[in-house]
């Protein structure tokens, strides 16, 4: 199946160019090519920081709750059975710290969304790189390697390890290789992703918006000829669609003025939306009927 986005050069903005660099195509077993976008490195770093923040807050809250139980409710300091309670709480604390280091990411990434809360907020999820199933082993592998990518460097820096002379410097460089790994490959894979055969892709949810041509048909009031409609291409149509959906009076006026100037029309005050809806419907009808005959026009330059 041909990729629709491969149609001709287009005046890219900086943002769309950065985005198109991360576009990948995945072919489903139905033979349908699904576009995937590799998660941006910034979004991934943000997701990680969010997760660490959640972990930290969670640990602090649980610790406070434990000490409230221990010293407030049961008053373990003065009762003879206090020892057993403190022991149980200490075991719980040790296991909690252990689980928060290794279990948090594992648990959430094994769920149906394959994303930790931080990743969900950043609109990311984990997926198998070969397009197959994401298995439990993959998630385990990628999260075990996380230990040297996140926790060891963090403990190293917090513990002031970088001040330890040549050895400290060597350790620092060595750890940085892992930390900076995602920067040096095009799929932003970290070491854990390579070992597990996974990658992190964008997983936005899109809402179904209103159909565009439900507005009253104004073909009788506005008649556009082929000369007027063949000026613009698909890119301009999509910009127009966005403007219409946003429905801001000033941008509607700007766009309407630009179009009327181009096709040599005069437009009355207050008719902008009506005119643009009619023009949109006509242009889309025109481009789509051409499309059915295999003629596509990417933008006004082509």
């Amino acid at each position: 199946m041909s990729a629709p986005e491969s149609a001709g050069p287009r005046p890219h903005t900086l943002q769309t160019r950065a985005r198109s660099k991360r576009e990948r195509t995945l072919v489903t077993p139905e033979g349908l090519s699904l576009p995937l976008t590799v998660g941006a490195r910034g979004a991934r770093a943000g997701a990680l920081l969010l997760d660490l923040l959640f972990l930290f807050i969670g640990i602090v809250v649980v610790m406070l709750a434990f000490s409230a139980i221990g010293f407030g409710l049961l008053d373990v300091g003065s009762t003879p059975q206090g020892g057993a309670v403190i022991q149980a709480l200490l075991i719980a604390v040790i296991l909690l710290l252990f689980l928060s280091r290794y279990g948090y990411f594992l648990w959430f990434e094994l769920g149906p969304r394959a994303a930790t809360p931080g990743k969900r907020i950043a609109g990311l999820r984990v997926a198998a790189r070969d397009g197959g199933r994401l298995t439990a082993e993959m998630v385990i592998a990628r999260n075990l390697v996380r230990d040297i990518e996140v926790f060891l460097p963090a403990f190293f820096l917090l513990g002031g390890g970088a001040e330890g002379g040549v050895f400290g410097l060597a350790t620092f460089v060595w750890l940085m290789i892992f930390v900076l790994f995602p920067v040096f490959n095009k799929d932003a894979l970290r070491a854990g992703d390579i070992v597990a055969g996974t990658w992190v892709v964008e997983a936005r949810e899109a809402k179904l918006k209103q159909a565009m041509s439900l507005a009253p048909d104004r073909q009788d009031q506005y008649r556009f000829g082929e000369a007027e409609l063949s000026i613009y291409g698909e890119h301009e149509l999509q910009v127009l669609e966005r403007v219409l959906r946003q429905d801001r009076p000033e941008s509607l006026r700007d766009v309407a003025e630009a179009i009327t100037a181009k096709i040599g029309w005069q437009l009355g005050q207050g008719d902008e939306r009506e005119f643009l809806e009619a023009f949109y419907a006509a242009l889309r009808g025109y481009l789509e009927s051409n499309m059915r005959f295999g003629k596509r026009k990417a933008d006004k330059y082509s």
């Binding site: 199946m1 629709p4 489903t28 077993p29 139905e30 349908l32 699904l34 576009p35 995937l36 020892g83 022991q87 149980a88 200490l90 040790i94 296991l95 252990f98 290794y102 094994l110 149906p112 969304r113 394959a114 999820r125 790189r129 199933r133 994401l134 439990a136 082993e137 993959m138 385990i140 592998a141 075990l144 390697v145 040297i148 060891l152 060595w174 892992f178 390579i194 070992v195 597990a196 055969g197 997983a203 936005r204 949810e205 899109a206 809402k207 179904l208 918006k209 159909a211 041509s213 439900l214 048909d217 698909e234 999509q238 669609e241 419907a281 889309r284 481009l287 789509e288 499309m291 059915r292």
Partner: protein, 349 residues
């Protein structure tokens, strides 16, 4: 208003199909209730609430998925409605992740894992286990020889806090005390939990370091085992070698086994990275990583057992023969389990 947040989103009936002036919009309006039905199923699956899906919907899921996928294929060739294309792409992608997502949950995976998946992957990395074992034995011997040659080596191998009085030339009584038992089980739970979390950290490190061609893993194994060898020499020097071995074997056969497997798993990944064979390096790494991850998941289980043995059994059972017996029994159990447990029939995750 608040209640509506908890209600299932109703599927809006599509607007009158005839009202749309564009052919592609009519195409969309005719099908959008199917799409929204699929979306509600996918959302329920994503929220891990498959029970809230009605039987009818569940039966229809494959049909709805294929319908929506074909809608996307058609829409790409006939429609220029960017918002609809966007919606369809995101919906098909979400549905694809659910339809081809992991089929078994954590517990299903655990059952298959214990029922042979673990032992099969342990057997699969036998070569790395042999290498790691050789390195560990060599490390122990090195530690022993170094300290035997020059006692000062002991202090550079074993940190002061860890030695806890167990230094060369120490009073035999002090040494015997460290091998002793606790009076009651008070506080042993904490000790066991601490040991477990500490040792698992070491194992995960041994695995994760394998990524750098396995070299750091080997160094880690050598260092840890040299420490053991040095410690053994201290006890053997005062004629308590057997007592120390017994004391160690209670949990050691399990714990050292776990460290052996973790090191072997790390080595497996590192070795695959260095010698990927006929496959591409990424494909080879992936296979090795997944196999090693299974072994590692098993290490955690072994370390829980080791922590309990170390925290309770060793502190409560004092005499050397019983300790040796416990250690030997554990070793036999693990070896038999890994060698004989057949691999699960179907490997479908």
């Amino acid at each position: 208003m608040v209640l509506s947040l908890f209600k299932k989103a109703e599927i809006q009936p599509p607007a009158d199909v005839e009202a749309a002036s564009l052919r592609s919009d009519r195409f969309r309006l005719e099908r959008e209730s199917d799409w929204q039905r699929l979306e509600s199923i996918v959302t329920a699956l994503e929220k891990n609430r498959p029970r809230s899906i009605s039987d009818d919907d569940l039966l229809e899921l494959p049909v709805l998925y294929r319908k929506t996928a074909s809608s996307l294929a058609v829409a790409r060739e006939t429609s220029l409605d960017a918002a609809t294309l966007d919606y369809l792409e995101s919906l098909v992608r979400r549905a694809w992740f659910q339809v081809y997502g992991p089929r078994i949950g954590l517990f299903g995976w655990l059952r298959r894992f214990l029922g042979g998946g673990w032992s099969a992957s342990v057997r699969a990395i036998w070569l790395d286990i042999c290498v790691a074992l050789a390195v560990m034995v060599a490390g122990t011997i090195v530690g022993w020889l170094l300290v035997e040659q020059d006692e000062r080596w002991f202090y550079s191998l074993v940190s002061g806090g860890m030695a806890g009085g167990r230094v060369p030339g120490a009073d035999p009584e002090t040494l015997r005390e460290t091998l002793g038992t606790a009076e009651s089980s008070d506080g042993l739970g904490i000790f066991a939990a601490y040991l477990f979390s500490n040792n698992t950290g070491v194992c995960i490190l041994a695995f994760a370091l394998g990524f750098a061609f396995g070299v750091p893993t080997l160094l880690l194994l050598v260092h840890n085992l040299a420490l053991l060898g040095a410690m053994y020499w201290v006890f053997a020097d005062t004629g308590m070698g057997l007592d120390f071995a017994a004391w160690l074997s209670v949990h050691g056969t399990t714990e050292l086994g776990a460290i052996l497997l973790a090191g072997a798993a790390g080595l497996h990944v590192g070795r695959t990275m260095a010698f990927p064979g006929d496959r591409s390096i990424l494909a080879a790494m992936k296979g090795a990583g997944v196999r090693a991850a299974q072994v590692m998941a098993g290490c955690t289980i072994m370390l829980i057992v080791a922590g309990l043995l170390e925290g309770y059994a060793r502190q409560l059972v004092g005499d050397t023969p019983s300790r040796l017996a416990i250690g030997a029994v554990m070793l036999v159990i693990w070896v038999l389990y890994f060698a004989l447990m057949p691999a699960p029939q179907e490997r479908e995750t």
